[in-house]
């Protein structure tokens, strides 16, 4: 019997082929098999024949929404920067999307990076993606040469070992605490819908950090980010980071130093996280792609918690709603206002 992901792969290939053959879309964003165990390659397919390369497995850890704006641009007829938009509808792009990725597409729509009518979301309910790092940590430096994926277990093979492990035990932290695994936008359904997960406290990891003293938190921050080499993989893999020039790359004026000074590195990470406030869907791509395994997700997760506490909003759940930090209501909490001591006491 085929596994769930084998069935999903088959459906993705069939639907992608259909969409391309019908001419509904000009490109499909998905994944191809990687050259190493537990890796996949993001792939943009433009012809029905190439759809056979598409796959789906438990290691699809990179948020594909990151590729959406550039792919949409690539299928438009070429035009100069000052040429007018061509008449008539522009070609569409289909994209495989899980819960969090679809919420990122919603954010892209809210932020006018992506036009809703040009996207065909091939929605896949996520069963949680596996962290390659967690698997490798179990094998203490022994090289993993092949991984066979079942629905609930992984068979890990090396030169002189073969062990079966429980899949959920090595699922990424963000997936383990995720409550919206099913896509919020679906144009073409792939596989079976996945129900909302009841999670008593999705912010458990943040709470643990918050309970520490200021000094302990500072120690955590300093140590966690000390190995950063400033390669910016976290930023570049993030679908929220689309500024043409990032503040760290700005040369006139230069906001952040370029060497590995801990102050500069810390500044980059704090500012990056704040730029994601109210927009981050906790897809976990940033920490997955980090070559040093830095847990920078804790910063954005904390901000997700704050935005939920303050405004009752989770990013990307409603395409027609405004973003929490670009709108206001008269009863927004204003605890940060310290000018009027009486107001602070009332908690408003």
């Amino acid at each position: 019997m085929p596994t769930i992901n084998e069935t999903v792969s088959e459906e993705i290939r069939a639907q992608a082929r259909k969409l391309l053959e019908e001419g509904t879309v000009a490109a499909v964003i998905g994944y191809a098999a990687g050259s190493l165990p537990m890796t996949v390659k993001p792939l943009v397919v433009r012809s029905p024949e190439d759809c056979r390369k598409l796959i789906w497995n438990t290691f699809c850890v990179l948020n594909l929404a990151n590729y959406l704006p550039a792919t949409l641009k690539s299928v438009e007829p070429p035009r100069g920067p000052r040429d007018p938009k061509p008449e008539g509808p522009l070609p569409k792009v289909a994209i495989c999307a899980t819960g969090c990725w679809s919420r990122n597409i919603v954010v892209q729509i809210q932020e006018h990076q992506v036009a809703r009518d040009r996207v065909v979301v091939m929605g896949v309910g996520s069963r949680g993606m596996v962290s390659k790092r967690k698997v490798q940590a179990l094998f203490d430096g022994r090289e993993i040469l092949a991984v066979e994926e079942g629905d609930h277990e992984l068979v890990i093979q090396g030169a002189d070992f073969s062990e079966t492990i429980n899949r959920w035990s090595v699922v990424r932290d963000n997936c383990q605490t995720c409550t919206h695994p099913d896509p919020v936008l679906v144009d073409v359904r792939i596989g079976e819908p996945v129900s909302e997960r009841k999670n008593p406290n999705p912010f458990m990891q943040v709470d643990a950090l918050e309970q520490k003293s200021g000094d302990e938190r500072w120690a955590w921050f300093t140590e966690e980010f000390s190995t950063c080499i400033r390669c910016y993989a976290c930023r570049n893999a993030c679908p929220l980071c689309y500024c043409p020039t990032c503040f760290v790359d700005d040369a006139k004026p230069q906001w952040v130093g370029k060497s590995l000074d801990a102050v500069d590195t810390g500044l980059f990470h704090i500012l990056r996280a704040y730029h994601c406030a109210g927009r981050c869907t906790d897809c976990g791509t940033c920490e997955t792609v980090c070559p040093k395994g830095i847990n920078m997700r804790m910063l954005t997760k904390k901000l997700n918690k704050d935005v939920l506490d303050l405004y009752g909003i989770e990013a990307g759940m409603q395409p027609d709603a405004p973003l929490p930090l670009t709108t206001y209501t008269m009863d927004d909490p204003q605890k940060f206002m310290v000018a009027e001591p009486s107001a602070v006491k009332e908690g408003k």
């Binding site: 390659k41 993001p42 000390s226 910016y232 790359d249 230069q254 801990a262």
Partner: protein, 345 residues
């Protein structure tokens, strides 16, 4: 060349001995800060109390950090008014003595020789080379991502190493590769290696040479225009996220930028790692960017390593350590790029 033999216990004692006189570094087993005064990212200062343990294949961090410190201070100055030195640029004090890097794999040692080609006249690189002793260990086992034999290297290679340790049944044989290496063992009373073990190693090296591939060398004669315009770059550039991970973990990526940093009136001119994956890397003052598109930057990185560099200097600018293969977030695999390049008509 002198060849000695040594037991594992003697090796640890030897490292301990060195650490009394010099800073000694070994691949870090735990997390190491990327910047701190006393250790290089991915390497930890050893005192020789713990036995040396090496990962299979190249350690996560390459030796690049010892030759291109991140950052390297080139000059210092003060902007304080009334200071007698105001307006003077001073060279920082030179480090005295040598630093010893233990646990270097043959691929990383070769990377230093390759980087030396474009940096022959660079005083900072040369000074760092002069004061760094590389203590190598040949690879008994390799990783599935290792491809040094395709790049002109060998898991048993000794090039660029000051001392080379190779496993024998009950210990190591030690080959002295340079005067620096010789000085490190001069005061230790080491026994000469057995002839049989020396010839066994030589025989294994011969086997490696036979097994290595020279197929890639045909790229050197190929017409650049055809490789440049090949269709393989489009999908590659499309999936690349243009982070600098590959360039920063690569032992043979050596590009830098220079900046002045001033903190409270005290300035320093530093050079720090830059990456051809970043748009700012090739941005001109005019605002024009000759590699403004992602695909152009991705192509540049591979063609630099596999075509521009060999056309200018001879060897490829890649040692086949496989670090980029392991760590690329989108699984861009240079081995596949090489196969695709060889297939270009």
């Amino acid at each position: 060349m002198k060849v000695f033999k040594i037991t594992p216990a003697e090796l640890d004692a030897m490292i301990q001995e060195w650490s009394k006189a010099h800073p000694v570094y070994a691949p870090a087993l735990a997390k190491q800060p990327a910047a701190s005064p006393d250790c290089a990212p991915g390497w930890s200062r050893v005192d020789g109390n713990a036995p040396l343990t090496l990962p299979v294949g190249p350690p996560p961090a390459s030796v690049k950090t010892f030759f291109f410190p991140q950052p390297e201070t080139l000059l210092t100055y003060t902007l304080e008014n009334n200071h007698p030195d105001k307006g003077l640029m001073r060279e920082p004090a030179k480090s005295q003595g040598i630093q010893v890097v233990v646990g270097v794999r043959p691929c990383d040692a070769r990377s230093v020789l390759l980087n030396n080609l474009p940096y022959q006249e660079d005083p900072f690189f040369q000074a760092n080379r002069q004061r760094t002793a590389l203590i190598g260990f040949t690879c008994e086992q390799t990783r599935s991502t290792c491809f040094c034999t395709q790049m002109g290297g060998s898991p048993l290679g000794s090039e660029g190493l000051d001392l080379v340790f190779s496993r024998t049944r009950d210990g190591f044989i030690v080959e002295v590769g340079s005067a620096k290496g010789e000085a490190l063992v001069a005061d230790l009373d080491l026994a000469p290696a057995d002839e049989s073990e020396i010839s066994a190693l030589a025989a294994r090296r011969q086997e490696e040479v036979k097994a290595s591939s020279t197929e890639l060398d045909t790229l050197k004669g190929r017409e650049l225009g055809k490789l440049y315009d090949a269709p393989l770059w489009q999908p590659l550039g499309e999936s690349c996220i243009n982070c600098g991970a590959c360039t920063f973990i690569c032992p043979t990526c050596y590009c830098f930028d220079i900046q002045d940093e001033v903190v409270r009136g005290q300035g320093r001119r530093i050079r720090y790692w830059d990456s051809c994956m970043f748009p700012l890397y090739s941005l001109h003052t005019s605002g024009h960017n000759p590699r403004g598109q992602k695909v152009q930057r991705t192509r540049n990185r591979f063609l630099h390593k596999l075509k521009y560099f060999p056309d200018r200097f001879g060897p490829f600018s890649c040692v086949g350590c496989g670090r980029c293969v392991q760590d690329c977030p989108v699984n861009i695999d240079i081995r596949e790029v090489m196969t695709d390049l060889l297939a270009v008509e």
